[in-house]
């Protein structure tokens, strides 16, 4: 077997000899500095330069693996809260120390730009700067920008002219569709090294991972058509394909990491509708004009707040809707909101509240305010500066942060340890995403999670059917979507809605759900190989 040796030592020697001769001490120092900057065996050289950073074992391993075995091009797909940014920072720092990387482009959702800037500067001493509109791209050594800004003209053209040493894309699952402008733009960026960060490399279909791999290692999986055919073949071929994907992906699961996570306590808090509210709620079922699924959506809305329900009704201009709105107006303050407000007061600590509805967000803020609690809201519609201001207020002044799922993506809120799920999401994966905001790398205290549940409503049904059953999965929840997509069940969220709305009794729904979980479980072991890092 052969090894290829590349060297031009003789000709390079002529160049060196043209320099002025140095003294003995400088010669020795130059040698020692080079030694310090090179890998000592398998260890990272950058750690010597980052005395204050104490990465967890899985983070170090991930960085080593990407550097030594994946040549700096990889998908970092750890579960939420395991510190993908730390891994990316370590890799970047290592390559910068070795002089292999100077010019860097970091693409992140606009809400996370500041966070990236801070972490790179404070933890890694990497001079990352957020891209300012009036400065040229060429002036930045390490630029942080949103894809939305970067893909606009004239930015796109300027970026595509640059030769980057390193490209980092955060929340890279946004690139799963190869037809989108975002994807095509990112694929065209020239970069020697490339890291894609996502906690959910596959959300629905395996194609998605194909598209991500196409960016980090073009051609690795061959043509898409062939790739899909291979996947349909025997388990052995499938296994080979998975192994191939693993050569460019690092994925750590929370349960596999060895460090001591702080504990996670989960508690359910029950509220009870007032009689008037219960009557309104029950009447949703009786209105025959509505489709089962619409009824379910309406019920969920009403379990959240009158305002959320109102917004759904307001879309229709029918006489029926107008009547219902008038009925809504007569109802007292929402029982769950009042219950929650009391709970927050008792708790006496900062907490984060998640809701699925923007209307509820504002209502809750009002309710809390009425009782002397300062709450700030946060959602995906806010501008970057407003988002940052809200987070700052939450950290320094406010008692409560009320946020939606879309808004909170990728945020680090480990300074807070309490989280209230005012509405339970259909998709348990979302729940994991939410909890990951506080139960993550850097959290020093035990984390408290609270579900707010209205008795005798769809809230309770979801809790009983979905969450209690899923606890049996012991942490597989995060992969459930992937498991289901593997066996041809489309979107988990849709599947759940269908089961709940079409079952005539709770027992029926329960049985259907059991079946679904059974099927998923039997595929779990196959799935596992995929997620293992080695």
């Amino acid at each position: 077997m052969n090894i290829q040796i590349n060297q031009q030592l003789v000709s390079a020697c002529q160049e060196i000899k043209e320099q002025t001769s140095c003294d003995w001490k400088t010669f020795k120092q130059a040698y020692h500095i080079s030694k310090m900057k090179s890998t000592q065996g398998e260890r990272l050289a950058s750690l010597a330069f980052l005395p204050e950073l104490q990465p967890m074992p899985h983070q170090k391993e991930a960085a080593e693996k990407v550097l030594h075995e994946m040549h700096g091009r990889a998908i970092l797909a750890d579960e939420v809260g395991l510190g993908k940014t730390i891994e990316a920072g370590l890799i970047l720092k290592e390559l910068m120390i070795k002089g292999l990387v100077k010019k860097v482009l970091i693409l992140a959702p606009s809400s996370l730009i500041r966070q990236w800037e801070q972490e790179m500067n404070q933890k890694f001493f990497i001079p990352a700067r957020a891209k300012h509109r009036s400065y040229d791209w060429t002036l930045y050594e390490v630029a942080v920008s949103s894809i939305d800004l970067a893909k606009k003209s004239p930015h796109q053209e300027e970026i595509l002219q640059q030769d980057y040493d390193m490209l980092i894309v955060d929340e890279a699952h946004r690139l799963k569709n190869s037809q989108t402008k975002n994807y095509q733009f990112v694929k065209k960026i020239k970069a020697t090294y490339c890291l894609l960060l996502t906690a959910t490399p596959i959300q629905n279909k395996l194609d998605e991972i194909y598209n991500l791999v196409q960016i980090v290692r073009p051609g690795l999986l061959g043509e898409k058509k062939a790739f899909k055919q291979e996947l349909k073949k025997d388990p052995e071929t499938q296994e080979a394909m998975k192994q191939l994907i693993q050569t460019s992906m690092v994925r750590n699961l929370r349960k596999e990491t060895q460090n001591q996570w702080t504990e996670r306590n989960i508690e359910t808090i029950y509220a009870q509708f007032s009689d008037e509210e219960q009557a309104f709620y029950d009447s949703i079922d009786n209105k025959q004009s509505n489709h089962a699924l619409t009824q379910l959506t309406m019920k969920r809305g009403f379990c959240s707040s009158r305002e959320a329900c109102f917004q759904m009704l307001a879309k229709n201009q029918t006489q029926h809707a107008i009547d219902r709105i008038n009925e809504l107006k007569e109802l007292p303050q929402h029982a769950k909101a009042i219950q929650m407000m009391n709970f927050v007061k008792e708790l006496g600590e900062k907490c984060i509240i998640f809701t699925e509805y923007k209307a509820t967000q504002i209502y809750l803020q009002w309710v809390l305010h009425q009782h002397g609690l300062l709450a700030v809201t946060y959602n995906g519609d806010f501008r970057k500066s407003k988002k940052q201001w809200m987070l700052h207020l939450f950290e320094t002044k406010a008692d409560v942060l009320i946020t939606t799922d879309a808004g909170a993506e990728g945020l680090n809120l480990q300074h807070c340890r309490n989280m209230i799920h005012y509405d339970l999401p259909w998709n348990p994966m979302k729940l994991e995403q939410r909890i990951g905001r506080i139960h993550r790398y850097g959290q020093t205290r035990n984390v408290q999670i609270f579900y707010m549940i209205l008795k005798n409503t769809v809230d309770e049904k979801i809790l009983n059917l979905l969450y209690d059953k899923l606890d049996l999965f012991e942490g597989v929840v995060g992969e459930l979507d992937q498991i289901l997509s593997d066996i041809g069940v489309g979107n988990f969220e849709d599947e759940m809605k269908e089961i709940l709305s079409e079952s005539s009794s709770e027992q029926e729904a329960s049985i259907k759900l059991d079946n679904l979980i059974e099927v998923a479980k039997s595929h779990q072991s196959e799935r596992k190989a995929f997620n293992e890092t080695s």
Binding site: I3, I5, N6, Q7, V10, K17, A30, P51, F125
Partner: protein
């Protein structure tokens, strides 16, 4: 080097480059730079361009470096530590300046008979492995330019010896017999031989993975002629990544003239 050693390292760096130490206390160091250091470190090319155009003498900057973390907030100055860009800048200056040397053993002979010094070439080389994994290794090889005798781990051996930049009194240098080019060639050949011998596992594993990915690629190409460029790219990519390769690069090199005694020690 630890954080506590940084201050003495800085003092050494600046004084040996003729900068003056303005103030020095525990963890705090103020230095008045020389023009050359100012240009190298302070990144203000417009100022220097302007001053030189006007034919004036520029005013160099004074910089305060804080090495004790507890004093960071007490005093104005730069917090300097491992990983700080400033220290890295300084490292780069040393690496650049330290690329080449000609040195003589500092033998304090007071005999009237002249001492001959034997010529050695020291090659410090970075060996970068690329294949199923990438890693680097530093090698230090000395070769005697009289007969081509080689010695590895050269730097470790001479680390604590003294060398001067000019020929000491009562010493003279022996002429070289082997040319520099030939010496470097021989060092390279020997190095290649050693790399091949010790990396069979690395080579085998890399080859195996390389073949596996190539085969997988062949399987995946349905219509080989459709997009040949794309497939070629994929093949090149796999080759670059997995085919076992080694890059050899200079760290620095130097001519060392040593006494017969040291020359013998180095060979034994």
């Amino acid at each position: 080097m630890k954080q506590a050693d940084i201050q003495s390292f800085l003092i050494d760096f600046f004084t040996s480059r003729q900068a003056s130490i303005v103030e020095k206390s525990d963890g705090i160091l103020t230095v008045k730079l020389t023009e050359q250091l100012d240009e190298q470190l302070m990144n203000r090319p417009f100022y220097w361009q302007y001053v030189k155009k006007l034919g004036k003498v520029g005013e160099t900057m004074s910089v305060t470096f804080i090495t004790d973390e507890e004093k960071r907030d007490q005093q104005k100055g730069e917090w300097i530590h491992f990983g700080s860009p400033r220290l890295d800048q300084i490292f780069h200056i040393i690496q650049r300046e330290g690329a080449y040397t000609v040195l003589y053993e500092d033998c304090q002979s007071n005999s009237t008979t002249k001492t001959p010094l034997h010529p050695w070439l020291i090659c410090n080389i970075r060996v970068k492995y690329r294949g199923f994994l990438s890693k680097d290794e530093l090698v230090s090889v000395g070769i005697r330019l009289i007969d081509g005798t080689m010695r590895f781990q050269m730097m470790d051996e001479i680390e604590h010896k003294n060398f001067a930049s000019s020929v000491p009194n009562f010493c003279f240098t022996l002429p070289t017999i082997i040319s520099t080019e030939r010496a470097v060639e021989r060092v390279t050949e020997e190095l290649q031989q050693r790399i091949k011998q010790k990396s069979t596992h690395f080579v085998n594993k890399s080859h195996r993975l390389y073949e596996r990915e190539m085969n997988m690629l062949k399987k995946l190409i349905i219509d080989d002629e459709k997009d040949d460029a794309e497939h070629q790219r994929a093949k090149v990519q796999i080759f670059e990544r997995l085919y076992p390769q080694v890059d050899l690069e200079w760290i620095n090199l130097g001519y060392f003239y040593v006494s017969e005694q040291m020359s013998k020690e180095l060979i034994s």
